[in-house]
Symmetry: C2
Subunit: 374 residues, 2 copies
Amino acid sequence: MPQSPTTRTSRKGATRFLNVEEPFRFFKGGLIPRLDIAFETWGELNADRSNASLVMTGLSPSAHAASSEENPEDGWWEPMIGPGKPIDTRSNFIICVNSLGSCKGSTGPASINPETGKQYRLSFPDLTIQDIAAAGKLVLDALGIEQLRCLIGPSMGGMSGLALMRQQPDIARHFLAISTAARAEPFAIAIRSLQRETIVRDPHWQDGAYTNEDWPETGMRLARKLGMISYRSGSEWRTRFGRQPQRRYSPRLFGMHFAVESYLENAARKFIRDFDPCSYLYLSQAMDLYDFAEGYPDLIKAFEPLQLQSAKIIGVETDVLWPPHQQREICQGLSAYGVDCDPQMLPSVQGHDAFLVDYARFCPAIGDYFAKIK
Amino acid sequence: MPQSPTTRTSRKGATRFLNVEEPFRFFKGGLIPRLDIAFETWGELNADRSNASLVMTGLSPSAHAASSEENPEDGWWEPMIGPGKPIDTRSNFIICVNSLGSCKGSTGPASINPETGKQYRLSFPDLTIQDIAAAGKLVLDALGIEQLRCLIGPSMGGMSGLALMRQQPDIARHFLAISTAARAEPFAIAIRSLQRETIVRDPHWQDGAYTNEDWPETGMRLARKLGMISYRSGSEWRTRFGRQPQRRYSPRLFGMHFAVESYLENAARKFIRDFDPCSYLYLSQAMDLYDFAEGYPDLIKAFEPLQLQSAKIIGVETDVLWPPHQQREICQGLSAYGVDCDPQMLPSVQGHDAFLVDYARFCPAIGDYFAKIK
């Protein structure tokens, strides 16, 4: 891997880090003196560096999308990436980058500002999807990859992918967009805005000065539960939970009677301390503010510069947060400028989360596309 | 109006009160020494008392469904009830009852316990939909009405109506159910449970010992915003707000950029002090716990005792909280036992709230039914 005086890579288990020892300027202004970008790779980069694909992630995942020799623990997309899997690492070199602004290895609001020796927290510059894209691009540069076989973007990762293609229109030959959107619509904005409000109105938030001992647990708990409500679907829960009572947790005042409530409680408990509240707020807001059409007369025209050969756009009929008509919009935009674009709306009941759980539908849909593209 | 030693009626403007000076026993046990039920009426009860219809309300409305000489202010269902309106008060005698447990005139957790001189708050007995039905029935008894022409139940009011028919199967000749359900499903439970959790986790909740000076504003604010998100629909908001910025409120940290956010903020501000937090919690939980099928082998069989002549079941395609398949269930149950049941799913974009705003669709649907029933 090429090293420069200001950019080197390091490694900790399966996680590699791009360590950039020079300022990173943010899209809306502001800079940080240096940054780290955490990433993992699977498979081998071929001699002409033409078999690389990049996975940009949703809000919360780390770069650990799949297991490897260095880290045998299941990744967040384990059934999707590996030898003989839909994204086959026998023939593909796969990179997954932890988003700038996250708290899973890449620099974000929870990172130490080398100039103060303290966490950035609210002094972290305004974060945009464009910055996440630019930071991902630094990893490709460091790996010597000029063009991707496929740019893969589920959820927020699809926005990051669109932003990256805006920055370099020939960055990928193919685009696999999953349950994503070119810009947030008011329903998703309302959900995410309310999630952020639950955090900043928690007295333990303390204007970002929370500590490990004094953490905005209530805000994070409520935000996560609202997240789960928006990520899944009523039709899934009807079959899965019905009106079953729950016995896992003690009943509390005005709650915790039903299985669906203990399911949400369990999801919240796992999340509260696992994700930095500031990171959550920065990333969540970046999604709301991103608009792929910005600077163009309409959304369709914004797709004109992209130089893709093909795209596969997968959506889920029960997804209320990133609804199917938003996948179709992306497809319309790409098709308008001659990209061979295949939209596929899956009838999964699991809503937005389907790409993380309904592998029976997602594996063939993605595997077929990957087998086809060059 | 007949008066008894223990039951009398009083009046304050348009609002009438049934004052019951004897204990009221709750379905799950517990009692209160006396109760008031607030109600309003429109039109004239005919000589054989056969033209009365009862409106049971959703969670938050008062008994002031429509204006009258005594209170010319618009009611919450103003375009629906009145002379020449779909529910025509020239030929119908209409009663609207404020639910037991509410804070709009009827006895509830915010009422003074005559035995202590203090508000009941959490010492109010466990409240069920059955109790709301029984309290409504007391008003009918006091008015000398043995059978209703029509029992009208939008939202929670439909549950109360079903519970009332369970208590007295011939209480109504006709049933108009609107955007309601025979029991809550897990998606609605999840939403309401989270709303309740936002309130009880607000430090100002103080285990129900909040005061006017120290009110759980944050909890009520978040609960109301989540309510609005569940009451409307993404498709409405897409057209109505899109990605329009907002200028009504100062931007706040991580929020208040978009018109949809100021819309929710405005709705929250109107609600926070207008509804008692304890009342909200009691009523919200009653909806989750109610199950019309309880005591029956399945939901369909639970409809067997009802002695209706006809029913009209109106739902809204975009309602995620009380979804159309739950209206169809009610219709299946009624039809299975010979009730002439007409289901109508309206394509309104306003979700659950459509019956309060989409009068262009709801007025003819309800007017046609009312013109037909005897």
